[in-house]
């Protein structure tokens, strides 16, 4: 019950945060020089067409008026229409979101699958050759910019080995999946490095804890100690870090989606900002804010699963 109430409270807390985000991004976009009519017209501008487009898009109204119109539509669930795509923003974001979520999901899976065993191994084999190799790998990962790693992977796997598509999204689910491997790997690269170091340190700390010695003295097998004691307790700080990295992946997707030509929300956002496609920028920001808030709630929930001493809404009682 308590946890449910806690969840409800967290959801209600999202509302003022969202409102502030909407106001801020609305104003920011309006204070950028130029307007969507100018952006649409590009290099050759006939002043008559410019005025006609401004009028048609309601850009001649005052900013408070524009906000009132936007906000009342938003309350009715209408995020507006994209001037670049001539499509409802909700529909546009819906389709683009699938790509970005798949990308973040695959990157997360790569991150977990690679960093968990390597980080653990490095921690257990502290200061042995395996540890040194893994640490060098992590260092390289940390210091390589994503756009460079992306291009490198493209050249090796796409152009030279021709194993994976160079870019694009494909037309079917198996094709989508293949298309996501390289960008997913690129996006995961720096997270993997961070997580390896984090897990390694946690494992080292936990191994020295009293309860691990206690477990050994009870005669538990190495496997039981590793999974039940060491790994489990080492993972708690890692979960926080991972959730932060997932949020980071959303911003990373802006760069990755452009390199790999993926039609995701990051690429959409960049295009919408340069095109002064106000409704789309506002829509994307709302969605990003919601994702960040939701990931935070999920993280809290995972804590309580990993550590029973942490109870959701416990401080309330």
């Amino acid at each position: 019950m308590k946890s449910l109430r806690y969840l409800l409270k967290r959801i209600l807390q999202m509302i003022p945060v969202l409102f502030v985000a909407v106001v801020v991004i609305f104003l920011l976009m309006r204070f950028l020089p130029g307007d969507s009519a100018l952006a649409t017209l590009g290099d050759k501008i006939d002043p008559r067409a410019y005025e006609a487009i401004k009028e048609e898009r309601g850009l001649n109204a005052s900013i408070p008026e524009q906000f009132a119109i936007y906000f009342s539509n938003l309350l009715q669930g209408d995020m507006g229409t994209s001037v670049i795509y001539n499509e409802k923003v909700s529909a546009l974001i819906g389709t683009r979101m699938v790509t970005t979520i798949c990308l973040a999901l695959i990157a997360t899976i790569f991150t977990v699958l690679i960093s968990l065993p390597l980080g653990y191994l490095a921690g257990v084999k502290r200061d042995k050759p395996a540890d040194a190799v893994i640490r060098v790998f992590a260092l390289i990962g940390l210091s390589s910019p994503a756009f460079w790693v992306g291009l490198l992977l493209l050249i090796v796997f796409g152009v030279q080995l021709k194993l994976l598509p160079v870019s694009g999204w494909g037309r079917s689910w198996p094709a989508h999946f293949r298309a996501l491997i390289l960008p997913g790997m690129t996006l995961a690269f720096s997270s993997i490095a961070v997580l390896i170091r984090n897990i390694r340190n946690n494992v080292i700390d936990v191994q020295e804890a009293d309860y691990v010695d206690f477990g050994r003295s009870k005669g538990l097998s190495n496997w039981a100690i590793s999974t039940g004691y060491v790994l489990r307790n080492a993972l708690i700080p890692t979960v926080t870090l991972l959730s932060l990295r997932i949020i980071g992946m959303l911003s990373g997707s802006v760069i990755i989606e452009n390199i790999f030509g993926l039609p995701g929300i990051g690429a959409l956002l960049v295009q919408a900002v340069t095109g002064r496609d106000y409704a789309v920028v506002q829509g994307c920001v709302i969605v990003f804010v919601i994702i960040v808030l939701v990931v935070n709630v999920i993280t809290d929930f995972l804590y309580s699963v990993l550590d029973h001493r942490i109870q959701l809404g416990g401080d309330e009682a």
Binding site: A39, P47, R48, A49, G168, P174, I181, F301, V305
Partner: protein, 538 residues
């Protein structure tokens, strides 16, 4: 712990399961369907006819189209593909040098007063949906192009007074004043005949997503931001054409990715290829640069309202400090050509007698000293962020002008902020570019002479009466030779005003697979793909 039922065991089990499924899925993905690969092999599968051509040719572009309605659309990215879908009465030849009949049987009959153009239209024309092209469609197409308020192309059809279509095969266009540019204006993409019935059915908004015309291709599928697929028009009037069944325009935003996709065969043609990449591809075994001549010219506009640049001697000094050849060499890897006038080099009205600038630093220094600036001064150049080409030109100019003590500061702004500053003439100097939409200088001249449109192309100079008179004469003059003479005087006038430093013209930056034939991009930029073909891969 209460209401959460997940216990430790089920959580770990769940995590394990997740790992296993993802690994399986990854294997399935790699193992592989051929779905993501090229469509070239599909040519063999069409069955009915054993075509030796690939079924689909994929063209990589940096951006996607955003509006397929020729009247309300903006930007070359939309305009370039209209010749694939729409046909007008007339068209420019593939080399852009002449104007020839397209849907008209012949060139029009022109009345003695030069005001009435009567066209005999080919009979039996059908739209791609199978419906007949009627008099109503012609009249509607013209009138919509002439009266739609938010059309950016209205200036090209401004001189048309009205259009009559007494029957399905006659179109009579009446001009407001006699004009030599009328034939060129009749080629403009907004006048490609379109189906009124279809427009009425779908409405103006949906019309931006798909149009119906009589051209070799029609819209098949458009996934915005990803790809636009055109397929053969089954009712195309020429038997056996087009050769390739489908053309796919695929968006590959990143320059490097586009090059890599071309080399790996994911795309067959790349557009918007940087000059450095074109140079690099010269030695590639599979693909080659394809620099088609364009109407693009670039120059530096000097704002005469700036305190330094208001002095003609200062402007002349900047002219003499500029070395266009060095700019061509350093920014286009030899693909560009120096120019002596801002007119498109492919235009018959371009005055080829005007020579590109020969730099003379000593004289430039003298002029500056004479104007009272022996130590030079500092001015800004407004630049569009993300445009590497403009940035590289500015960098070369910076070093050239520094030789006479002028410190050029790059004022780089994000694209729309740049447009906004430019529109308000908040600039000292700017790199300007032009490309024609019709094979006639009248459109370009309107942009310079109508001060409200571009502040005299960002020179801040309202053209004097004698120049305006010359331009009016050139617009009305019917005789090509006399018109050439008038435009020659106008170009000489610009040269004397020292407001535009002519730099270079450039070709279209395409790269294509070597086995592709029939790739045509006219100087106006229109793609003509009736004979575009690529051998089917075995």
């Amino acid at each position: 712990m209460g209401s959460f039922n997940l216990n430790r065991r089920s959580f770990l089990k769940g995590a394990g399961l997740m790992g296993a499924t993802s690994a399986l899925a990854a294997l399935a993905g790699c193992g592989g369907s051929d779905d993501g690969g090229t469509d070239a092999s599909a040519g063999g599968d069409t069955g009915s006819e054993a075509s030796s051509y690939a079924k689909t040719i994929v063209i990589g572009r940096a951006n996607d189209s955003d509006n397929l309605d020729p009247v309300t659309c903006i930007g070359n990215i939309n305009i370039f593909i209209f010749n694939l879908i729409l046909d007008g009465l007339l068209k420019t030849s593939d080399d852009g040098e002449t104007i020839e009949p397209n849907l008209a049987e012949d060139m029009p009959e022109i009345s003695d007063d030069g005001l009435t153009y009567t066209f005999k239209v080919k009979s039996g024309l059908k739209f791609s949906d199978g419906s007949d092209v009627t008099a109503e469609d012609w009249k509607w197409t013209f009138e919509r192009a002439m009266t739609t308020e938010d059309s950016n192309w209205i200036s090209t059809v401004e001189n048309f007074d009205h259009v009559e279509c007494p029957d399905d095969t006659t179109v009579i266009v009446t001009l407001k004043t006699p004009a030599a540019s009328a034939l060129a204006c009749l080629c403009v993409f907004t006048l490609g005949v379109q189906s009124k019935a279809y427009f009425d059915k779908v409405g103006a908004d949906e019309y931006k997503n798909a149009i119906i015309g009589t051209g070799p291709y029609m819209v098949k599928e458009w996934k915005k931001g990803e790809y636009l697929t055109l397929t053969k028009n089954p009712n195309y009037r020429e038997e056996g054409l087009p050769l390739t069944e489908e053309i796919e325009f695929k968006v590959v935003a990143d320059d490097n990715s586009r090059k890599i996709q071309l080399q790996s065969g994911d795309i067959d043609i790349a557009t918007d290829v940087p000059f450095s990449t074109m140079k690099e591809l010269e030695s590639d075994s599979e693909v080659a640069p394809h620099p088609d001549p364009s109407t693009f010219t670039y120059w530096v506009s000097l704002n005469t309202q700036n305190e330094y640049l208001s002095n003609p001697d200062v402007r002349e000094a900047l002219f003499l400090a500029t070395d266009p050849q060095e700019i061509v060499d350093m920014t286009t890897y030899g693909y560009g050509t120096t120019i002596g006038t801002v007119f498109s080099t492919t235009s018959e009205y371009c005055d080829k007698d005007l020579e590109p600038i020969t730099p003379d630093v000593d004289k430039a220094k003298e002029l500056l000293a004479g104007a009272g600036y022996p130590d030079g001064f500092e001015i800004k150049m407004l630049l569009k962020g993300g445009n590497d080409f403009y940035a590289s030109i500015a960098t070369v100019l910076q070093s050239q002008w520094s030789k006479i003590g002028v410190n050029l500061v790059q004022d780089t702004q994000e694209a729309t902020a740049y447009s906004s500053a430019r529109k308000a003439l908040e600039l000292d100097t700017i790199i300007s570019g032009w490309s024609d939409d019709i094979q006639d200088p009248s459109e370009f001249m309107q942009f310079i002479f109508d001060y409200d449109v571009t502040h005299g192309y960002y020179s801040g100079l309202q053209q004097p009466d004698d120049m305006v008179a010359l331009n009016d004469q050139a617009n009305a003059e019917q005789d090509v030779e006399k018109r050439k003479e008038l435009y020659k005087q106008i170009q000489q006038g610009f040269a004397d005003q020292k407001i535009f430093i002519p730099l270079l013209s450039v070709p279209y930056q395409n790269a294509i697979r070597k086995d592709i034939t029939g790739f045509v991009q006219t100087p106006l930029g229109n793609y003509r793909f009736e004979k575009l073909a690529m051998p089917a891969s075995e």
